[in-house]
Structure formats: structure tokens, C-alpha cells
């Protein structure tokens, strides 16, 4: 049982981060129906900038929280700039092109960002300096660290702020109007270009914070970290219903839970020794391998997101909360 709760806590932490990244995908998709393939790279750049700043400030002896906050404060503007620049240069000129065109440029932007980051920060795995002393708290037989608590609280706060922005401010109203019908929104006096640019900037800002959190949580950063994280967050956005803001939050948390619980239990449930009676050969193998004959271990963790993605798209393309249908040419 305590393993279950432990995986639940890990899953929630991971899921909170996925949710924040998924928001970036879903907002952009909601407004211009583009899968911003390069969004994961923005997360990576956030982590990298934070790494540089934290590395530089670590020897000064400032309080750890302040160092991380300064790191985030530097990462956010850089990422917002990157997000704005890619919208301006690579996506805006293609707004009326066939659907596949901006997707292909998005892939190109993703490669360019990845390798520019490799130029700046080298191809090695960068280890964050250990400035935060991790405190452990015990809940119902499982442990939760202060870092995990901070991540969950920060993510919830950011999501609440975003929900307020989208549903309670003029900019949010303009965003929702543009998502519904850009032409009519334009006729109502909304500057669509500015709204779209703002969407990219907000998404990139969220991604920056997510990058800082991922970096400090795992303690490492590398120029390739963004693509797999981005894909999982995208899968989360699809699970919740792409284009739907609450859906992305729900999808992110669910995706984190699926991954953590899946990785925690897949080994137990695919251990063929449980049914070792069915064949002589299996019984012998089990005896030889110390009672375990695990078909799929926790090293298949990365598969879950893709399996979920494929299942959702096949059986419910509109996702859990979405109304849009994925069937658009």
C-alpha cells in the first residue's frame, strides 16, 4: 500500500509539471490549431538558463530558494523571447498555408533550438549544484520531499492564475474569442496578431517555470531533455482534450499518475512466475532467475504516454473534456 501512495505522490509531482507544459500546447492549439512541436525545447531552454544562473550563484551562499527564484526570473524572459520569436518568424507567415506546413516548420524550429542549446551548453548531461537540502516528510507510510511539495504548490498556483487570466480578464476573453472564430474576433476589434503572440508568450513563460522545476527536481539538464517531455505533455493535452484549458490540467495530472503507477506496477503484473504452473519450462526459468520472470519492467515507463496517446486518439479523439474532433485535414 505504501508503494501505491509513494507512486501516487511521485505521479502527482510529475503530473503537475506535465499539466503546466500541456497548457502551452493546448492554448496554442486552441487558438491557431498548430501543434507547437518546439514547445518542449522551450522547457529545455528554461532548464538550461536556470542551470547557468544557479551554477553562477551557488557559491555566493544566498538562500537556496532565492537562488532558484532568481534562476526562474532569468529563465522566464529568455523563454518568452524564444516563444515570441518563433511565432513571429516561423509560424505567423504560414498562418494561411496548408495545415502540414507550420507543423513541418515547427519540427525545424525544434531541431534548431535543440542544437543551438547544444552549442551553448555542450552535449553533456549538466548536473545542477545541490543547493537545496531535501527534507523528507512521511505521509501514510510514503515520503514526500519539500521539493515535491514546492513543485505541486507552484503548479497549482500557476494553473489557478492562468485560469483567472483566461476566464476573467480582457486578454483572456480576447483569446477565447480568437479561438472560436479569428475572423469575427478581428471584426470585433481584437488585434489577433497580438493575442496570438501573447498566447505564445504565456505558454513559453509557463514552460520556463516547468523547465526550472524539472531541472531542480531531477538535478540534471541536457539539450535533448525537451523532446520527450514535450511529447508526454502533448499526449497529456490530447488526453484532456486539446484546445481545452481545464482538460490540459486534468490530462497532465492523469498522465503523471498513469506513468508513475504504471512504472511501479507493470513489473509485478507481467511477472510470469505468478502463472509458473502452466509450463514446465517457465517453472524452471523462474527457479533459475530467483522467482521472477518479468516480461516488461519499469524501463518501459516511457511507453505509457504513447500508448495512452494512441488509445485516446483511436477511441476518443476529442479527449476527456474536449468537444473538438481530431478529424481535421
Amino acid at each position: 500500500m505504501d508503494i501505491f501512495i509513494q507512486q501516487l505522490i511521485n505521479g502527482l509531482t510529475l503530473g503537475a509539471v506535465y499539466a503546466v507544459v500541456a497548457l502551452g500546447y493546448t492554448m496554442v492549439y486552441g487558438i491557431i490549431q498548430l501543434i507547437n512541436f518546439a514547445h518542449g525545447e522551450v522547457v529545455m531552454i528554461g532548464a538550461m538558463v536556470a542551470f547557468t544562473v544557479i551554477n553562477a550563484l551557488a557559491p555566493l551562499g544566498l538562500p537556496p530558494l532565492a537562488v532558484v527564484l532568481i534562476g526562474a526570473a532569468c529563465a522566464i524572459p529568455v523563454c518568452v523571447l524564444v516563444g515570441y520569436a518563433m511565432e513571429r518568424l516561423a509560424y505567423r507567415p504560414l498562418r494561411h498555408a496548408p495545415r502540414l506546413a507550420p507543423l513541418i516548420t515547427a519540427i525545424g524550429v525544434s531541431i534548431i533550438l535543440q542544437h543551438l542549446a547544444m552549442l551553448v551548453w555542450s552535449r553533456n548531461v549538466l548536473a545542477f549544484p545541490q543547493i537545496i537540502d531535501t527534507k523528507l516528510y512521511t505521509i501514510a507510510g510514503a515520503t514526500i520531499t519539500n521539493v515535491q511539495i514546492t513543485i505541486i504548490v507552484t503548479c497549482v498556483a500557476m494553473m489557478a492564475a492562468l485560469a483567472l487570466l483566461v476566464y476573467r480578464t480582457r486578454l483572456g476573453t480576447a483569446m477565447r474569442a480568437t479561438a472560436q472564430n479569428p475572423q469575427v474576433a478581428g471584426l470585433m476589434g481584437i488585434d489577433i496578431d497580438r493575442v496570438i503572440a501573447a498566447t505564445f508568450a504565456i505558454g513559453a513563460g509557463l514552460a520556463a517555470v516547468a523547465g526550472v522545476m524539472v531541472g531542480t527536481y531531477y538535478g540534471i539538464a541536457q539539450y535533448t531533455m525537451g523532446s520527450i517531455l514535450g511529447l508526454k505533455a502533448f499526449a497529456a493535452a490530447v488526453l484532456g482534450g486539446i484546445g481545452n484549458v481545464p482538460g490540459a490540467m486534468l490530462g497532465g495530472v492523469l498522465m503523471g499518475l498513469v506513468e508513475a503507477l504504471g512504472a511501479g506496477y507493470i513489473g509485478t503484473y507481467t511477472d510470469l512466475c505468478k502463472i509458473s504452473g502452466i509450463s514446465e519450462w517457465l517453472t524452471q526459468r523462474c527457479a533459475a532467475d530467483g522467482g521472477h520472470f518479468v516480461l516488461f519492467g519499469s524501463n518501459y515507463q516511457d511507453v505509457f504516454a504513447f500508448v495512452v496517446l494512441i488509445l485516446v486518439l483511436v477511441f476518443r479523439p476529442s479527449g476527456l473534456l474536449g468537444e473538438r474532433v481530431g478529424d481535421r485535414a
Binding site: 516548420t105 531541431i111 486518439l313 479523439p317 478529424d327
Partner: protein
């Protein structure tokens, strides 16, 4: 091509003879600069095969596949497992290549079947996920039963062999010395020629025209009596087959494969080639694959030494330049020449109509 042949037969045959002669002499000219360049050419030819296979899916049928390298991997692993000390099997290549092609086609249908309903960008992401799943499995299928040998990969893969002709050895025939890569080069040229001929014939066939109809408007195509389900599956299977064969040859040339060779970036590289050359145009795709294979290698050999002499050390890793080039190719082509360097006639028309 067929049009040119009909209009002016003597000129066409003369041009063909010149091209064939050039292709025959090329490896010997290349090996003057070092065997590396023959190897680079071989790799380029493999990419031409891959790009042409992907072109069937992306260019002809309009289904963006970002996990295409998975079929290459399937073909490569099929060859490696059936012709290496790993399982102690050493089947001849002409038995394995069809098996590899068949297995790859099966995987193509496996990918195609659940994604038939999806279109455009959703499809792209699912295929990408499929490619990643294959790679993760290749990486992890070393336990509990060792099938793929995990991240270590498979070693000692047999080269192609026909009686006394061994593709990995240097042999002298008719006074000319044929090194291993040169022999593979001729084999690959034949393969590529067959693939080009097949795709050209396919494009103007009943099937090719049906794919084009599906790409333009699936609903209308179905209304005209086209069996969209079967034809889309056929496109996947056909594309996967070419990928599988290319993978088998890759396995034999390298003698060693590991999941490292089949990462997402490789899929994107093949997509870049198709996009740069011109989706749907066979010659454009060939041009795209050759350009994106050779230019980075030429840069690798020129930029490195230039940096050495100018700054005394390598400032920018040639590998980075290679990848930046791929990224830039994708972005710039889409921005300024969305139909590619050599656009297909239909694509050109389509883009002109769609842009409002």
C-alpha cells in the same frame, strides 16, 4: 520520364547512357578522395531509398509519418537477427531481405490500422509515438529473453555473399580492384533504380491516382468509389517495405546495429529530405536526399579543418552544423518554397489554390 522517352527516344536513351556511365565510374572517382566518400555515397543511396519509401506515404497519400525510421529499424533488426552469431543463424541475404520487407510491411499495417481515422497533425504525432515505442522495445527486449541484445546492439552481422562474391572483402575482377563499399555501391544503385522505377510506375497507376485523390480530399475520394481504408493501408505497407529493405542493406553494410541508429532525429532527417526535395515528386525527393546527405558531409570535411586553421580548435562541432542545416532546411523551405525544390505539378497547383 516516360513522356520524354516518347517524345524524343534517341535523346532519352543517350542521356540514360551518359547517366549510367557516370554512375558506373563514380565510385572509382570517389575512392580517389578516399574510401570514406564511397561509404558516404552508399549512405546517401540508403537515404534515397528511405526518402522514396516515405514519399509514398507522405507525398503520394498525404499521410505525414514521423516514425518512418521504425520500419528501417524493423528491417535492420530482422536482417541482423537472422544473419549473425546472436542466434547463430546465418541465412543468405536473398532469403532475409524479402522476410525483412514482409515484416516491415506487417508493421506498416499495424501502424496504419488504428490510425486510419486520423488525419494531418494528429496522425503525425501518433506515428512519432509509434516510432518511439519501437525504439524503446528494441532497447529493452534483452530481458527476460534476450531478443535484441538491448542498447549493446547486435554485432558480427553477415555481409552479403553470393558464392565466391563477398561484399565485405576486396576482390579483383577483370583487373579492377573492387573494395567492399564499391560492391555495395553497385548493389545499392541497382536497388535505388528499381525503387525509382517502381515509384514512378506507381505514381501514374490506378493506385497512385487513388492515393492522390485521397490526399486531395478523402471524403470526395470515398464518394467516387475508392476504397480509402485499403489504399491507405497499402500506402503504409508499401512505404514500410522500402524502409525494411533499406534497413536490411544498412545492417549488412555496417555489420553492427543498435537502437541508437533509429532515433527520432533520423525520422525527421528523412522527412526533411522529402520536404526539401518536393513532396510527391520522385526526382525532387531523390535530389533532396542526395543534397541533405552530401552537404553535411562536405561541411564536415571542410568546416572542421578551416576552424582548426583559423582558431586552432574546433569551435562548432560539424554534427551541430549538420543538424542546424536540417532544421533550417525545413523552416526555410516551408517559408519560401513550400512545394520544395522540385515541386510536383499537382502540389504546386494545390498550394496556389489553397493560399488565400
Amino acid at each position: 520520364m516516360t513522356g520524354a522517352a516518347r517524345r524524343n527516344p534517341p535523346l532519352f536513351w543517350a542521356a540514360l547512357a551518359v547517366v549510367v556511365a557516370a554512375l558506373l565510374v563514380l565510385p572509382f572517382a570517389m575512392s580517389e578522395f578516399g574510401t570514406t566518400w564511397v561509404r558516404v555515397t552508399n549512405l546517401a543511396l540508403l537515404y534515397v531509398m528511405l526518402a522514396l519509401g516515405l514519399n509514398i506515404v507522405v507525398g503520394f497519400a498525404g499521410l505525414l509519418d514521423l516514425g518512418y525510421i521504425a520500419f528501417y529499424a524493423v528491417g535492420a533488426y530482422t536482417y541482423a537477427l537472422l544473419a549473425s552469431p546472436h542466434f547463430g543463424l546465418h541465412l543468405p541475404f536473398w532469403v532475409i531481405l524479402p522476410i525483412g520487407a514482409g515484416v516491415a510491411a506487417l508493421f506498416g499495417v499495424l501502424l496504419g490500422a488504428p490510425t486510419l481515422k486520423l488525419r494531418g497533425d494528429y496522425l503525425a504525432i501518433v506515428t512519432l509515438g509509434f516510432g518511439e515505442i519501437i525504439r524503446i522495445f528494441l532497447n529493452n527486449l534483452s530481458r527476460p529473453i534476450n531478443i535484441t541484445n538491448g542498447p549493446q546492439g547486435v554485432w558480427g552481422i553477415d555481409p552479403f555473399r553470393i558464392d565466391g562474391l563477398n561484399f565485405s572483402l576486396k576482390q579483383t575482377v577483370l583487373g579492377l580492384s573492387f573494395s567492399g563499399p564499391i560492391k555495395y555501391y553497385y548493389l545499392l544503385v541497382v536497388f535505388v533504380a528499381v525503387v525509382i522505377a517502381l515509384t514512378l510506375r506507381l505514381q501514374n497507376s490506378r493506385i497512385g491516382r487513388a492515393w492522390e485523390a485521397i490526399r486531395e480530399d478523402e471524403v470526395a475520394a470515398r464518394a467516387m468509389g475508392i476504397n480509402t481504408t485499403n489504399l491507405k493501408l497499402l500506402a503504409y505497407a508499401m512505404g514500410a517495405t522500402f524502409g525494411g529493405v533499406a534497413g536490411g542493406v544498412f545492417s549488412a553494410i555496417q555489420g553492427f546495429i543498435s537502437p541508437e541508429s533509429f532515433v527520432l532525429v533520423e525520422s525527421i532527417m528523412v522527412v526533411s529530405m522529402v520536404v526539401l526535395g518536393g513532396m510527391g515528386n520522385v526526382w525532387g525527393v531523390v535530389l533532396g536526399a542526395i543534397l541533405l546527405s552530401f552537404v553535411p558531409e562536405i561541411l564536415r570535411f571542410s568546416v572542421g579543418p578551416v576552424q582548426q586553421s583559423l582558431f586552432g580548435r574546433t569551435l562548432i562541432d560539424p554534427e551541430v552544423i549538420r543538424m542546424l542545416l536540417y532544421g533550417l532546411a525545413l523552416v526555410l523551405v516551408m517559408l519560401f518554397r513550400p512545394a520544395g525544390l522540385l515541386p510536383s505539378a499537382v502540389r504546386k497547383r494545390e498550394l496556389a489554390e489553397r493560399s488565400e
